[in-house]
């Protein structure tokens, strides 16, 4: 059975807390109809799953927690935001499970920004105009920082978070912490001063500074909006990563820092590489280094081998044999032609001789060019790659060159001989034929054939060759024809 109301109930009656909460809620509703209150929003959060908005409404001396249910908040033209000065139509309710009185917001209207927020926005505008937040001012972070400066509170969650990440990802680094209060009055100037000292600490020679703290209210983080701190970060000779609060919190330190990290853990993640990956990178480079050198040497060896076993270079004697065979063929054809009747033979002989010469010249030219080219083509790359070279292949090459030249010289001599023989043969046969036709060949006393008798004195002794014999004669008289 339900207890009667306190004003009518006996003092001895025992209530359950649930009964009290229910009764209290009912009385609040009855005695406090909805009313307008004015205050500044702080500690705002938008619950992602439910869509309800929770915040604190406060003024200089009091604060109430407030809830703005999704159904109403979604309809509201004014959305809650930290630092926002608002007037809210609220119902006073008692939230039993939380044991607290809270404001159930029905409607919300803005009455201008909160003083803190207004001051912050003014400052942000001023520093933006000065160019402090420009992207081009941001310095590149060192890829492999070994000496890290930490600027946060000793014993804070931010420090633990950062150290955990550093130890896991990049245990090669050493961190130097300058403990500094990260909230409360004076936090901003203290941070600015600490940053300047840390950056200039004798002998520290830091690669990178991480600045931050864990989450908190707008007021808790306000030290990181301090103008002096912002300017100290901008002037810091060492790159700075700023990580203040949670993802949703952004301070002026975040804007001015070289990198803004959403949380202290993320700052550490962004600050250092993963040692396992870097080790893998170094090992990979080592493998590639050895691999490329190996490929290089193998490539040179293959090239040398290819040159050495090149068809023409490997068997020059075969080409020379072919050239000799060609000479023999020409020789044979020459003989066949010689055996044919005289008619048409002269032309054939001339033709044959020309072809013989052309073939020989081409052969000589080609072969000579190859003999010149091969050593150059082989030796230049080889010498470039292997200073010592390959003595054996060079000697072999030189020997081949000499052999080729010898054989070519032999070939040239043979062709010359053949030409001479051809000429002799031709002259001999022609002479036979002329003699058979009844012509005489006259020679002087020394046996030299005479092309003409013109100008010879009378009494000159001549030897006359005729078909089938010779005769001795004496010149009696010369009668020259008029030319």
């Amino acid at each position: 059975m339900s207890p009667t109301r306190p004003d009518t109930a006996s003092i001895d009656q025992v209530w359950t807390l649930s009964q009290l909460a229910t009764e209290f809620s009912a009385r609040l509703e009855q005695e406090w109809p909805p009313l307008w209150v004015r205050g500044e929003i702080s500690g705002y959060s938008h619950h992602a799953a439910s869509g309800h908005r929770y915040f604190t409404l406060k003024d200089a001396r009091a604060q109430f927690t407030a809830v703005f249910w999704r159904s109403r908040a979604d309809q509201s033209s004014v959305q809650p935001a930290n630092g926002l000065q608002v007037e809210a139509l609220v119902r006073l309710v008692f939230y039993g499970p939380g044991g607290k009185l809270q404001l159930d917001v029905q409607r919300l209207r803005a009455v201008g920004r909160g003083d803190l927020m207004q001051a912050l926005l003014d400052l942000k505008e001023k520093l933006t105009a000065e160019g402090l937040f420009l992207p081009e001012r941001k310095r590149p972070l060192p890829a492999y920082p070994f000496r890290l400066g930490l600027l946060t509170a000793l014993g804070g969650a931010a420090l633990q978070d950062m150290l955990k990440i550093l130890a896991r990802r990049w245990p090669l680094a050493h961190a130097y912490l300058l403990p500094v209060p990260v909230q409360g009055p004076g936090a901003g100037p203290a941070l600015a001063d600490a940053l300047r000292r840390l950056a200039a600490w004798p002998g520290l020679d830091l690669d990178l500074i991480l600045l931050g703290r864990g989450g908190g209210s707008f007021e808790d983080l306000h030290g990181f909006n301090d103008e002096g701190l912002v300017r100290a970060i901008a002037a810091c000779p060492i790159p700075v990563i700023s990580a203040v609060g949670h993802e949703v919190d952004t301070t002026l330190s975040d804007f001015v820092a070289d990198l803004r990290a959403p949380t202290p853990s993320a700052a550490a993640e962004l600050a250092v590489p993963d040692v396992a990956q870097v080790r893998e990178l170094v090992e990979d480079l080592g493998r590639r280094l050895a691999g490329s050198m190996h490929a290089r040497v193998q490539g040179s060896a293959r090239h040398l081998h290819a040159l050495r076993t090149h068809r023409a270079l490997a068997r020059p004697e075969q080409r020379l044999r072919q050239a000799n065979q060609r000479l023999d063929e020409l020789d044979s054809r020459l003989r066949v032609l010689m055996a044919r009747p005289m008619a048409g033979r002269r032309e054939s002989l001339d033709l044959l001789r020309r072809r013989l010469q052309v073939a020989l010249q081409r052969l000589q030219g080609e072969a000579a060019q190859r003999v010149v080219d091969w050593p150059r083509r082989l030796e230049l790359p080889v010498r470039r790659r292997l200073r010592e070279g390959d003595a054996e292949s060079r000697a072999r090459l030189a020997e081949l060159g000499r052999a080729m030249r010898r054989t070519l010289d032999d070939g040239a001599r043979r062709v010359e001989e053949l030409g001479t023989r051809l000429e002799r043969l031709e002259t001999g046969r022609l002479r036979q034929r002329m003699l058979r036709m009844g012509f005489l060949l006259a020679r002087d006393g020394e046996g030299k054939a005479l092309a003409t008798l013109s100008g010879l004195p009378a009494g000159t002794r001549l030897q006359l060759e005729f078909n089938g014999g010779e005769a001795e004669a004496e010149l009696l008289r010369i009668k020259e024809h008029a030319s």
Partner: protein, 85 residues
């Protein structure tokens, strides 16, 4: 600049550059041998630096301007059992 005086980052960048040049094969055999030797020295240097795990992760700097001898060890959560400190 001698290899030993390079920072880790400089050594790694130089090593990458040498590997790239060797892989492109634009340099002569003799130069590639020189590059290879330098690359091997850099590779060893990088490996050594990567082996040097800090025994103490943190030094707390004192207000008087000295570096404290009292290092703070990070708390060990359940995921931290394998950490090297």
């Amino acid at each position: 600049m001698s290899t030993a005086s390079l920072t880790f980052e400089q050594a790694l960048l130089r090593l990458e550059e040498l590997v790239q040049r060797l892989e492109e094969g634009e340099i002569g055999l003799e130069d590639s041998l020189t590059a290879y030797r330098e690359g091997m020295a850099l590779h060893r240097l990088c490996q050594e630096r990567l082996r040097k795990v800090e025994e103490e992760l943190l030094t707390v700097l004192q207000e008087d301007g000295s570096a404290a001898a009292a290092p703070v060890r990070p708390s060990t959560g359940e995921a931290d059992d394998a950490l090297p400190f």
